[in-house]
Structure formats: structure tokens, C-alpha cells
Symmetry: C3
Subunit: 263 residues, 3 copies
């Protein structure tokens, strides 16, 4: 797995996949900057009138329900259909699933109809999607990734997808295999958009990886390495973000790969 992660991260830098994000209004700038720093090309667009033109030329589609409303839900569904038509892989970030019925139901509906290759969320979101309502406090997680292992496995099997759960230790499963990623920094939970950006980079890695599972693991490994280094250099959550983007840009892929263990 470590070799596959290393190759995936190198391929992302070399091929610069074009990643379309229909994402929430809070994180658009940071998602685009993180994708650029990681070696990918961002495309932030949601107008239904241009979705077919754009989905044709992209390498991956990222759907993020962080500030969803009926217009973005419609765009996500249309983009998802085109992604299936043109065989472009899709990642879903179910931001805040469990906090409102609209979010939980929208995420489940996308899982059923668009059939994303990867779902990347935090422990509370994965738990909500697996049908077990935890005490979800807004969009931040109250559940660690390891606490939701069974739910992640069930979700992966039910929807034949890869589930990537961020936390103190990240956990990724395709329903059979389990990978764990060590690293990161507690400040990552105090900067908005870091999780959503991990999803965006998951899209970029998936576009060049041999399997969605390897893609999902590669993105979390890159974030764990860059996050840990940024946490040591910065002065707080404000300076963390520029440091983190700098670290993504000059990331040590071998170090990132070493953070991965398989169960």
C-alpha cells in the first residue's frame, strides 16, 4: 500500500488532474488553493447549463453538501448523472449529515443515485449515514474515526463504495480492507475547510490512482504529513493555513506514504 500511495501522489503532481468541485460557499477558495498546491487543477462551477461541457473535460467530480440548498442539490444531481454518463469518478463529502434531515437525506440520495466511488467524512457524519444518529453538534465531529469502524464497513458494503473517515487517526475502508493513517495536528480541526479540502484532494488522487481505495488513502496520507509539519511551524490556526498549503506544495511523498498501515 505504501508504494501505491507514493505512486499515486507522484502521478497527481505529474498529471495535474482537473477536479470539478460543487462545494460549499465557505471553502471554495481554500479548496481551490489546496488543489493547486497539491498539484491538481480546480474547476469550481455549478451552473446546470454548462455541466455537460465541463464534466466531459474533468478527471474527477467532488460533491460537498456543506451549504446545500435546492439549487445546489439540483446541480449535484445533474453533474452526478453526467459523471456516470462520461465515466468520471465521483467523491461525496456529506458535511453535517445528521445535523439536519435535509443533509442526511441528500447524502443518502446521492449515494443511491450517483453512486460515488468514495465517501469522505468525519465520524459523526459516517455514523448518521450508517443509520445511527449520534449526538451531532453542527458540522464538527463528536465521534472519532475508530469509534465508527463497524458503521463505516457497513456503509461501504451497502453502497459498494470506499468510506474515508478523518480523525486523530484516519480510517479508510472498502468494506473488506482497512487502512489507517497517522499524523496531522489538532489545529486542523480549528481551520474551516481542511476536511473539505481533504475531500477535494481525494478526488484528485482518485483520478490517477489504480483503485478508489488507494486514492482515498493517498489523500489522507498527504494531509497527515503536511498537517503535522505545518502544525510544528505555525503560531496558531491563522498561520496554520498558509503553512499547510506551503507544506502541501513541497510535500515529502515518501514520508506521507510511511504514515499508512493496513489492518
Amino acid at each position: 500500500m505504501q508504494k501505491a500511495v507514493l505512486e499515486t501522489l507522484q502521478a497527481m503532481r505529474q498529471k495535474s488532474p482537473l477536479v470539478q468541485c460543487i462545494t460549499n460557499l465557505v471553502v471554495m477558495q481554500v479548496n481551490a488553493n489546496v488543489l493547486l498546491a497539491a498539484g491538481a487543477s480546480p474547476l469550481m462551477a455549478h451552473a446546470q447549463e454548462e455541466l455537460e461541457d465541463l464534466v466531459k473535460i474533468i478527471n474527477a467530480l467532488v460533491l460537498n453538501i456543506g451549504t446545500l440548498d435546492k439549487h445546489t442539490i439540483a446541480s449535484m444531481n445533474v453533474a452526478g448523472d453526467f459523471a456516470n454518463k462520461y465515466k468520471k469518478p465521483v467523491v461525496l463529502d456529506p458535511v453535517g449529515a445528521g445535523a439536519s434531515r435535509l443533509r442526511t437525506e441528500t447524502a443518502l440520495s446521492i449515494l443511491r443515485t450517483v453512486k460515488p466511488c468514495i465517501v469522505r467524512g468525519n465520524g459523526s457524519e459516517i455514523m448518521a449515514l450508517a443509520g445511527e444518529l449520534g449526538e451531532n453538534k453542527g458540522v464538527d465531529s463528536t465521534k472519532g474515526s475508530l469509534e465508527v469502524k463497524e458503521q463505516a464497513k457497513r456503509l461501504a458494503r451497502n453502497f459498494q463504495t470506499v468510506v474515508s473517515v478523518s480523525g486523530e487517526v484516519d480510517m479508510i475502508t472498502d468494506g473488506t480492507q482497512f487502512a489507517y493513517v497517522q499524523g496531522g495536528d489538532p489545529l486542523m480541526t480549528l481551520v474551516t475547510g481542511i476536511g473539505c479540502s481533504a475531500t477535494a484532494v481525494t478526488g484528485a488522487c482518485m483520478a490517477v490512482a489504480k483503485t478508489p481505495f488507494i486514492g482515498a488513502v493517498s489523500a489522507m496520507a498527504l494531509f497527515a504529513g503536511a498537517g503535522e509539519k505545518a502544525g510544528k511551524k505555525c503560531q496558531g490556526p491563522g498561520s496554520f493555513l498558509p503553512c499547510f498549503i506551503d507544506e502541501l506544495y513541497s510535500a515529502d511523498y515518501a514520508d506521507a506514504a510511511k504514515r499508512v498501515t493496513m489492518e
Copy 2:
């Protein structure tokens, strides 16, 4: 008052209130990051379909009309009604009131129907809401806070609310008492979203303070302290923002409290 400010800031850090912002598109990221650094939890959501679910779980609602249109106005009204139903306190930031009739009228309509506990704006905005059209240049203020003392008092009494006016010296009044906050840095006027973030943190403080007046003063005191320190460390308006967020994160609450004087 200084003791109450100190206790409020400590309580915000300890209780981490969940603050929902229906805010303008320019400042969403900085508002969320500032809330996180100050110790609160942000929730940025506006879809009418999920407002009742979300307002039930929040501790404060922040309405900011910076990039309002008919969709956001409708969301603000619905969210405001639920906030009243579920007894959640509301803060209003009347960004650009006076610059267009739409903004002035929307802000006044929210004041009348949603009845926010606190209105936080700059001198020009407060003047416009008090019925005296100044020379409002866009969304930046041409009036200092002390120049609009009578207008702020009248506005507070008319709408039974607290009025918090930012400026070289911040002034907060409930129509009877007046508090003043010293500090900050001129660079704060050269970074977009600092004022809107002060409103967001006002929401977080209000959620844990004994009175809205104490909450409003506490937020401005925190900003005055962190802003002054960031202004000394940074190299210009670009590095001010990360510095400011770092300073909010490691803020000296006793120093913040000492910046407050009562009339």
C-alpha cells in the same frame, strides 16, 4: 463590567457555543475561522428546508446582510422566526445600510420582526438605521462611532436592543448604559470581514453572557486586544489576518477586559 467581560470570554472558550451565520458570501470563510479561533463552533447554513432542524440545536443566530438578495432575505426571516420560537438570541449586522434602500429597509424590517438582541455595525450604518442618511460610501464607514452616540441611543431605545458600533473607539449602548472599548489597529479596516467577524463573535459571546450588553462588549474587547497585538506583529494587511486569528486563539482575556470603560 471588566469582570463580566472576563467571565464571558472564558465561558465562550469553555462552552464552545454553536453559532449559525446566515452571512455574506465574501466573509464566510473568515467568519468561520474567527469563530473557531475564538473558541466557538460555526454553522454556516441558509437552506429553508433545514432551518428548523438547525435553529433547534444552535446557541445563537447571526444575520448579516452584506450580499443580500431575495433568497437570503427569505432565509433570514425564516431563521429569525425559528430563533424566536426556540428562544435563541439573534444578532444583526446591517452591512451597507444607507448605501441602498434594499439594505436599509431589510435591516429595519429584521429589527421590527425578528427583534435581534444586538445590532452591530459601523457609524454610517447605525446613522442610516436611526433615520439620518449620512454620506455612506459603499460598505465602509465615513462616521466614527462617537459621532453617532445619539443615533445609537435612539436606535437602541426604539427597538429595545443593544447597539454596538465599531470604530477607532468602539461604543456599545443598550439605550441607558454606554461602554467604550480601546484598542485595535487601523489595519482592521483594510481587511474584509473583520467587522462581520466581530458580529459573529458577538453572537458567540451573547450565547454565554449574562446580558446581551455584556456579550456585545466582550466581543469588541476581545477584538480590540487581538487586533492591537496582531497589528504590531504583522507586515501589512495580508499578514494581519493570520496574525489576528492566531492572537484570537491565544488571547489574553484579562488584557481584553481592561480595555473596557463605562461612561
Copy 3:
């Protein structure tokens, strides 16, 4: 030309023109911060109900189609009409023209009906508008500015506008004269919103310049100087942005002007 650039940059700082941006959702914050650092005042607003009130008080209007949909297209058209009615100059940034028909057609429609004084884009976008579809990869350019000289000239003549093309060397033409600007840093292509911010500052310079051509050149000269300095001081694309904004704030206008040569 160098003297005219110097005077324009000084006038922007002194007069602080109010620049309304109807721009894409990704770059709103950075555009506003860059305008403030450069000495101008940003106004980010798109609601049709307030466009007439606002366009009356602004000094320039910037239209950017980066995340266009039918609502923003309608707002751009209405704002453009008011700009013509009240004789306010308009700049267009045709983000992603060529990547979708919607973008190409919207940009051409604005060129025909709103008649902007300046179009500022990258090589691929200018090529698409000149009727020659290149291999446009999303919103990033695959064409250098000098490769599209003939297309820029034709576009400027056809629409009686100034065409400003960013690239390793920036090229600006009014269809007769050609100016070139040296400087900048490769990191500028790895930070989202730098190009869009150049368009916003082009609006601010245009508002105070003797001619749109001088305004367009002045903005690119300012960016070339600040970008080059920021590139030397920063650690990567994450720290580039705060450095760049700091450099804009303390820019050496004489140095900026010296980067301009005429053909």
C-alpha cells in the same frame, strides 16, 4: 507610459475609487482584500433590487463570470445597463471562456451589449473570445499572452475595447498600441483569485486613469512588482497570498512603472 502608470497608481491610492464587483464565489474575499490593500474600496453586491442605487455611487464595475449561473448573468446584465446609463466604466473578466459554451457566449454577449472598456483574461480565454477554440483546460491557461497577440488585437478592434492578457509577460492592447509588463512570479498561477484580483484592480485603475489603456497597464504593472517581491519572500503558494497583499499595500509605484515597455 511609465509616467502615466505612476500617476494612475498614485491617484488610485489617493482617491480610493469605489469598485463594485459582481464576481465569482471563489475569489470574493481575496478580491476585496486586494482592492483594499491597493488603495481602492470594494463593494461586493449583486441583488438586482439594489443595483441602481449602488451603480450610481460607484466609480467602476467589474464583471467576472467565474461561477456564473442564470442569476448572476441576469445581475451582470442589469448592472451593466445601469453602468452605461450612469456612465460608469466596466471591466470584464471572461473566466473560463472556451471551457463551456455558456461561458464563451455569456462573455461575448456582455462584450456586445454592455461594451466594457477593458477585457482582462488569460491567453486561452482571449483566444476563445477571438473565435479560435484552443485546448482550454478548465479555467487555467494553456496559452501564453504573446502567443495570442493577433487574437487580442482583433478582439480589441472588433469590440472597440482594451484587451489585457496576463502571462509570463503581460500584454495589453487597444487594437493599435501594445504594452508589455515584465515581472511577477510563477507562484501567481498557483493561487486562486490572483488573476481575478488583477481584474478588480484594473477596474480601480481604470476609474482614475486618463484612458482605459493606461488603467489596464497600471494594474498589471502593480501586480508584476508586488508579485515578484512576494515570490522572493514567501515559502510557497500558501504564504504567497499574505505576502502579496502586504506588498500591494506598500508597493513601490516607481518600480512598478519601470516594468512597462511599449512596442
